[in-house]
Symmetry: C2
Subunit: 273 residues, 2 copies
């Protein structure tokens, strides 16, 4: 496998450069990339140091490293771009065309993106995280009136990370309720849950995958038996259908994908922070 | 303020397009953007529908909407690009140059980025989230041996969201310990905490900001008094210094920025999922 060093450089957190380069590099599965993240390169000295690291890598490996950047500061960008790397600035590629289209200059203010915080926005995200923590695993069902969404699923189907993702990224008050064996045996959900019917969203998962996850948590238990997993998943899906609760199969999905899909299907407004 | 509609379109989750466009658009604070996210545009029908929505918006508003996309599928991309929007495909801009530099074609496989999951990777992220939930707020200190990092700070300084962010995004086992008034009065941390000295990282915050946050949580309490906030913050910082614990002031930082800064300062390896 061919090797290639990748530098991700920014005068801020580098989150944007990291996200985009990650998406791009996964399109080249035959190359073995080694990634070096260099955030907060916000002085001339640090830019020169970065330049030296890039050049050193180019010299030692004999191959030009890829350098993905999101510099707001033009001088710092130029310094890093003058090196022996293959340079991709993710702002430069789009800011120029955007300025022309919008008829205004970009503000070049560092880091409005993930940086400067709006206290209200911050408070609402933290509020959502606290809410999701507080209502995790079926606790505080009396607070369901404040929920933006209530995620349902059997134990270990991915409810908690999904709720936290929705809260952290989108400021959504996401509660979750674990469907218990008792619920499944009775064939219905508790009144507190069913009263919030419009907010309910179900997760289902392949029973074999569920077995693996549960086995890691509680090896050789009845809880982790394939037979048990099959029973719970089938009953939960039957319950979703009977109650008209939308649901998705999360078996092959990442947390980001689960979260985004739910927002999309539940037609909730996305507000990226 | 000038208005402009922005479409974010993808045949997958659209997270990459959303992150990059968000970073770009914040550089134009004088324009009032209305964002429409259209993820999972993965059939010809959906691409045509998207095209119509873009054209309709262009016609109604009299201004061409911005269309940010990350299409893996060339045909779907072409369909959407044929509309009346100003089109920016974030993959197209970089994939071509990357293919030439790397000497291989991109795989054009949809969604390796946030999509197809590696079960081990998934398990490790979920493991980290569960760990952070379990050890939140000073609980389960006996598990500190498994921690990648332990975040310290007074109540409401942002420990919990920081830990969850580190766990969700980077799969880091992040615990947190709330510094209590008792700790501050004694001037030292519990043995369980201090024994993990190398993993400790402190958060500090402007006392006035802390007062606001606490006031929202428990109005008119001693806990939320400015005097109390000042005392706790000053004592906590003195403690960090005395014990040689690295710390950052999170007052003007977003959660992403706090997380990234800690990784950077603690020299932890970033592994974006």
């Amino acid at each position: 496998m061919a090797n290639r060093t990748v530098f991700i450089v920014s005068d801020r957190t580098g989150i944007t450069a990291e996200t985009l380069s990650h998406a791009l590099l996964t399109q080249f599965p035959t190359i073995n990339f080694t990634t070096v993240a260099l955030p907060f390169v916000d002085t001339s000295e640090k830019a020169l140091e970065t330049l030296q690291r890039v050049n050193q890598d180019a010299q030692q490996s004999g191959i030009r490293p890829l350098v993905f950047t999101t510099f707001i500061d033009d001088e710092l960008r130029s310094t890093v771009a003058s090196g022996d790397g293959v340079f991709f600035d993710m702002f430069e590629a789009f800011i120029g065309p955007l300025e022309r289209e919008l008829g205004v200059e970009s503000s070049h203010t560092v880091g409005k993106s993930h940086g400067v915080i709006d206290p209200d926005e911050y408070t609402s995200r933290i509020g959502a995280v606290n809410y999701s923590m507080r209502t995790d695993d079926g606790v505080s069902m009396t607070e369901y009136n404040r929920a933006g969404i209530i995620i349902l699923g059997v134990s270990r189907s991915g409810k908690t990370p999904t709720c936290l993702y929705l809260a952290l990224h989108f400021g959504i008050y996401a509660a979750n309720y674990p469907i218990t064996e008792e619920d499944l045996d009775r064939g219905r959900l508790p009144d507190d849950v069913i009263q919030s019917r419009k907010k309910l969203f179900g997760l289902t998962i392949d029973p074999e995958r569920l077995r693996q996850i549960r086995e890691e948590r509680r090896a050789n238990s009845r809880y982790a038996q394939l037979r048990q997993c099959r029973y719970e998943v089938a009953q939960a899906v039957a319950l979703f259908r009977r109650e008209g609760i939308p649901y998705i199969d999360v078996t092959a999905m990442s947390i980001e994908e689960i979260g985004t899909t739910i927002l999309h299907k539940a037609r909730m407004r996305r507000q990226l922070y």
